[in-house]
């Protein structure tokens, strides 16, 4: 059994605004093992980025408030730590890759210095050795002619190459946990494919654990071992990548899967959409926050929030449809047909 690296329990994050208190994260729990990739999926405003920023303790206070819960890295709760203690953990044990490689780098500083800066901050080694390590890192992330690139400025790099540099900086202190917040969203698909390959390759070599935040289900299928689907500040479905894609249980997950067109089959039917838009996190509706958009909502959905129901050892979903007394509702046919197609194809391919 691999080691548990991170454990998040009932995390609650609020933001105080003039309009009222925004409940951005409402009791999120998950864990992460060594060498594993957990994808957090959700739409804008679902709380996925706030959750990941909270792990780094990057929520500005005020207006942010850590309203409850704990974040344990190797058993140690990060929430009570001082800023000084956190600065030793950031970059060293947990590192972050941001969405936009165009703004994540300092435009006035040579690439090499931006990498060695991180190494020297966390390790007491001579500058020459740090330099050598930085060149090795550039090589590791697949940048050709690292010696020459070391001396260049960010503007001399393309978008994909910049993201490689950002990854090199994140890896500089050999962190145990890498948080990647939409790392490929700003990139073209062919470049995205390269960066995803690179991240998986590095993970294999270094046993890094990755939290991968994205809204793109295709990317999730490509990188994740486990998936947490977030909606309105909560995890609504949680399981292995196969659980989520081949046996989804939450109507929101159905909606997400159904709103992606199927590239492989020529079905010319309407895309299934999730009607309406996400709720206001200041004035949350009573009961299940997804109920107003849920075509299968029952009376209880408007009254009481559902608990997490366990589907299997690895699979959980927060919907009243899983209650033993609920009417049996099957996954919409368009999605089940698609899944059957995928599974059949997988059998053919062995």
């Amino acid at each position: 059994m691999t080691r548990k690296l991170l454990e998040v329990n009932d995390l609650k994050i609020h933001f105080k605004t003039y309009a009222g208190v925004v409940q951005a994260v409402r009791g999120v729990s998950f864990d992460l093992y060594e060498g594993e990739t957990l994808a957090i999926v959700g739409e804008s405003g679902s709380g996925k980025s706030v959750t990941s920023n909270a792990i780094m303790k990057l929520i500005p206070q005020p207006p942010g408030i850590y309203a409850g819960g704990e974040i344990k890295l190797e058993g140690r709760n990060l929430l009570p730590l001082s800023e000084k203690q956190m600065s030793k953990i950031r970059g060293n044990e947990i590192a972050m890759i941001f969405q936009d490689p165009m703004t994540a780098l300092n435009p006035t500083m040579r690439i090499g210095r931006q990498i060695t800066e991180v190494i020297l901050k966390h390790q007491k080694i001579p500058a020459a050795e740090a330099r050598e390590r930085a060149v090795k890192l550039l090589n590791l992330v697949g940048i050709p002619m690292p010696e020459k690139r070391f001396k260049q400025y960010p503007y001399e790099f393309s978008g994909g190459m910049r993201q490689r540099v950002v990854i090199a900086i994140a890896l500089a202190a050999d962190p145990k946990l890498l948080i990647a917040d939409e790392p490929t969203t700003a990139l073209d698909v062919t470049i995205q494919a390269q960066i995803l390959e690179l991240m998986k390759d590095i993970q294999k070599k270094r046993k890094t654990s990755i939290i991968f935040i994205t809204h793109d289900l295709g990317v999730v299928a490509n990188v994740a071992d486990r998936v947490a689907v977030m909606y309105a500040g909560q995890i609504v479905e949680y399981g292995t990548v196969n659980d989520i894609f081949y046996n989804p249980k939450h109507p929101y997950t159905w909606g997400l899967l159904g709103s992606m067109p199927d590239l492989r089959n020529n079905v010319n039917e309407e895309l299934r959409t999730i009607p309406g838009s996400p709720p206001d996190l200041i004035h949350l509706p009573k009961g299940d926050a997804f109920a107003p958009r849920n075509e299968f909502a029952m009376a209880i959905d408007y009254e009481e929030e559902p608990p997490m129901f366990q589907v299997s050892e690895t699979h959980f979903a927060k919907t009243w449809l899983l209650h033993p007394d609920a009417p049996k509702i099957d996954i919409p046919e368009a999605i089940s047909r698609r899944i059957e197609g995928y599974l059949k194809e997988a059998q053919v391919n062995g």
Partner: protein, 301 residues
């Protein structure tokens, strides 16, 4: 066979200086048939948006010819002709946050074209028309008095669509109309575009980088790379039988929501090869065109 609504021949759009031109669009030719959706895909900087903007006369083109219903768009015209053309062809923009004037209500945004074209002089008739447009894009008539900041991204894009429809156009250029939206909202907007197309017999030029959405909405697809159309054909054909190495590479890079196949999927890298003077669009199969020199085409088939 449907009529050709738009004929683009050797469209060329250079920026920069004469001595050092940036060849954004480098001599492309294609037709758009009445009632169809032509998807224009490619990665950033390939010239797909420039193509759309050149067609609708946001730029003065460097060379080439664009015929709409047989008439040359870029020839100098009388005001009357320009107006007529503007009513026929409209555009939907990518960013629903930047493309709506924050000082105007939704009703004003939608009805601005009425003033310019002197339509619906009667106040009641005008109000009715605004309500009708709002309802046709899934909003309601009360929304007419609200400002852009009071709407979500998806709703704003609906207002952008209502504005494009306000003058009853036949041809709409949609430049990445869904890429700024969340997945579930994307599907709503795409369904709406399809529904409107059916109801109003619209013709779309749908510009996007997301291949799965493009394939879903388009009848035919043109793939652009470095200012050229490298492959053009029926959507299904392009997807199942890509011939140009760039198209193959692009298709292999699109991640699919299917973990089992993603685990074994091989990406195909693309290396750009210079073409010689024989390079042109070859009709390799019926209605399936591939750009390349004679020898390249032979080696790809």
């Amino acid at each position: 066979m449907a009529e050709k609504l738009l004929q683009v021949t050797n469209l060329t759009q250079y920026f920069g200086t004469k001595n050092n031109p940036i060849k954004a669009v480098d001599g492309i030719s294609f037709d758009v048939y009445e009632g169809e959706t032509l998807g224009l895909v490619g990665e950033s900087g390939c010239g797909k948006s420039t193509t759309g903007r050149s067609i609708i006369r946001l730029y003065d083109i460097t060379d080439g010819e664009v015929l709409y219903k047989g008439k040359n768009i870029h020839e100098t015209k009388s005001r009357k002709e320009v107006r007529e053309f503007n009513r026929e062809m409209q555009m939907i923009f990518q960013d629903p946050y930047a493309s709506l004037n924050p000082r105007m209500t939704a009703g004003e945004v939608i009805s601005e074209g009425f003033d310019i074209h002197g339509l619906y002089k009667d106040k009641r008739e005008r109000k009715e028309r605004i309500a009708e447009l709002l309802e046709s894009v899934g909003l309601n008539r009360e929304h007419a008095n609200r400002y852009a900041h009071e709407f979500s991204g998806g709703q704003r894009q609906r207002i952008g669509i209502a504005r494009a429809l306000s003058l009853n156009p036949s041809f709409i250029i949609a430049d990445e109309p869904i890429s700024a939206l969340d997945v579930s909202i994307q599907a709503q907007v795409v369904n709406l575009l399809k529904k409107l197309q059916k109801e109003r017999n619209l013709t779309y030029l749908f510009i996007a980088h997301d291949l799965s959405m493009v394939k879903y909405i388009s009848d035919r697809i043109a793939v652009m790379y470095r200012g050229k159309i490298v492959e053009l054909g029926e959507a299904e054909e392009i997807y199942h039988n890509p011939i140009h190495p760039y198209t193959k590479s692009l298709l292999s890079a699109v991640p699919l929501p299917d973990p089992l196949s993603e685990r074994i999927r091989q990406r195909i890298p693309y290396r750009h090869e210079e073409t010689d003077h024989t390079a042109k669009l070859h009709e390799v199969l019926p209605a399936h065109f591939v750009y390349g020199s004679d020898s390249q085409i032979k080696s790809w088939l």
